[in-house]
Amino acid sequence: MTFLSNLINGISLGSVYAIIALGYTMVYGIAKMLNFAHGDVIMVGAYISFCATTYLNLPPIVSVVLAMIVCTVLGVLIEGLAYKPLRKATSLAVLITAIGVSYFLQNVALLIWGSNPKTFSSMIHLGSVSLFDNKLIITAESIVTVLACIVIMIALTVFTKKSKMGKAMRAVSEDKDAAELMGINVNVTISVTFAIGSALAAIAGVLLCSAYPVLQPTTGSMPGIKAFTAAVFGGIGSIPGAMLGGILLGIIEIFSKSYISTQLADAIVFAVLIIVLLVKPTGILGKKITEKV
């Protein structure tokens, strides 16, 4: 029974990683950059919804929507101010800038909300499900998280396959210059990608903090890095890959926590990243990229 409950916890944590990883994978696929600040957008989203429910007494749903709006604006602002001028710069310069943005967000949060961890009250007010004479308890948070992840993935897949903007995104990720020649506005497409990624980050932040209710300025950085691991694991640029990678990573993390060592769990997760990158750098569902000279 512990095995089953661990598995469920793993899938639930993995779903959060998957939602974050979707943001990473879309941005990486289209703008070809590692948005290091993505994890901190999660933290901002969680703080916004925390403040909305605690100080303004707004209902949970409204607070989540508010967090999504704030994060979307934040994501677009970050992209426009910090990343857009560096479109043609080296990846080293872009990455250092992204790290700067990440630190900027963390320190602004530190100044606004302080370093003391806030206890995040769960946004999900539903009873948990008990099975097998209370031997297996599935929390409402787990169910909602997994459902949210599935809904988001299906919606995103449909969006990128069917809608005009989604097609533009795929075209830009395929070949930026050719897409521009076809009349696609590359800058708008990239901004929309950041907007979607950041809105997802807000949802992920609320779900993450509902399950693990400690909120502080550094809350987002570790899940952010792990979610990037998940995106690489599943194959960067691929939407189902992000979901698969996220869930596998969540399961690996929970299992190594309960069966190997709590302290070494993070080390094991990162070891997975290193092994994946060495054995199959394109990830499970990634496309093979050949380098042109």
Binding site: M33, L34, A82, P85, L86, R87, K88, A89, T90, S91, L92, A93, L95, I96, T97, I99, G100, V101, Y103, F104, Q106, N107, V108, L110, L111, S221, I225, F228, T229, V232, S261, Q263, L264, D266, A267, F270, A271, L273, I274, L277, L278, P281, V293
Partner: protein, 360 residues
């Protein structure tokens, strides 16, 4: 003619770099001996030296190798804890503090070099963002391992454990490394003089490496990997060499750093420390060693001295980091600078008339 000019440039960098160290030593050493420095400044001397060495080491990876290492604090951690263990083991057999410190620093550098080799072999095969994220991952793995590493020393020799201090089975001795609590009761043997000597050693290694055949190969690989490969430069070999040397220097700095405090925890060497060093390197000008040294001294020592400023320190670092990257890399800023430089060049050419000034 061109060769002479290049030579002069290198000599100039060398003179500048060693000059800064010498100047710092000449100013601070007599003050320290005379007891004119307050406790706060005296306490900052060794850490500042350590961070200067760390910045020089990271400058080799980021500036000359052109790869972003986000786990540099990991090498520092390996060097620090192996150095501490070594010094503690030799406590009774070697009475001379400077000699023990020297051995500890060498051991720290050695173990960090081994870590550099183990990490470097997989890491060097990757490029760009992937390489950065893997060094980050390795930094976290090192921190996690150090967090559950227990080492003790008694009359039977060294004991290791990954579970608890009790599992060491020590007789009449306390553990040297105590898991998450880190190293406790370290004998402080680091001095300002040893810090200055280590900076000179690091400078000597890095500056000579950069001006050597290996250094030119590394620069060629950074500028264009495929072109370098096609003229027969072994990419892996040279990259790995530079990476390991960088790790060794970081390890030596770590040993020096740890021996300046009575206790030190593994969490000290986390991602934030790596980023702090990266900020120094980027703001100092990446491969501009004298610049990196000055940036480290200013950015590390100043905020420590201005306490009230401390809470805004990282925020200001972050903003400066973004602005520097935007100013030096964005296409708009580039055009702006090109306009200015071409204007200056035009004026110079008009003055020289022969056109003797090449693009400098």
């Amino acid at each position: 003619m061109n060769k002479l000019k290049n030579l002069n440039k290198f000599t100039f960098t060398n003179i500048q770099s060693y000059g800064i160290v010498l100047l710092a030593f000449i100013i601070i050493f007599p003050l320290q001996k005379a007891g004119l420095l307050g406790n706060q400044i005296s306490g900052l001397l060794v850490p500042t030296c350590t961070y200067v060495v760390m910045a020089i080491s990271l400058s080799l990876t980021v500036g000359f190798l052109g790869e972003l290492s986000l786990g540099h604090a990991g090498f520092m951690s390996v060097g620090a804890f192996s150095g501490v263990v070594c010094a503690a083991c030799l406590q009774n057999s070697i009475a001379s503090d400077p000699l023990r410190l020297l051995i500890a620093i060498i051991v720290g550098g050695f173990f960090a070099g081994v870590a550099g080799l183990v990490i470097g072999i997989p890491v060097i095969r990757l490029r760009g963002d992937y390489l950065a994220i893997v060094t980050l991952a390795f930094g976290e793995i090192i921190k996690n391992i150090m967090n559950c590493l227990y080492v003790g020393f008694d009359k039977n020799g060294i004991h290791f454990s990954m579970t608890s201090a009790e599992a060491l089975g020590l007789i009449d001795a306390k553990p040297i490394l105590n898991g998450p609590n880190g190293a406790q009761a370290i004998t402080k043997i680091s001095t300002f003089t040893s810090g200055i000597i280590l900076i000179v050693v690091a400078l000597f290694i890095v500056l000579n490496l950069v001006n050597s055949k290996t250094g030119r190969a590394v620069t060629a690989i950074r500028d264009n990997r495929i072109a370098a490969e096609s003229v027969g430069i072994g990419v892996t070999k040279y990259k790995l060499t530079a990476f390991i040397i960088s790790a060794v220097i970081a390890g030596m700095a770590g040993a020096l750093y740890a021996m300046n405090f009575s206790t030190i925890k593994p969490t000290k060497f986390d991602f934030n420390t790596s980023i702090l060093i990266l900020v120094f390197v980027v703001l100092g000008g990446m491969k501009n060693i004298p610049g990196v040294m000055i940036a480290t001294i200013v950015l590390y020592a100043m905020p420590e001295l201005l306490r009230g400023f401390a809470s805004y320190r990282m925020l200001i670092y972050a903003i400066v980091l973004i602005l520097v990257m935007l100013a030096t890399n964005s296409s708009g800023a580039k055009q702006f600078f090109e306009k200015i430089s071409s204007k200056i060049k035009k004026d110079e050419n008009a003055d020289v008339q022969n056109g003797g000034v090449s693009n400098g």
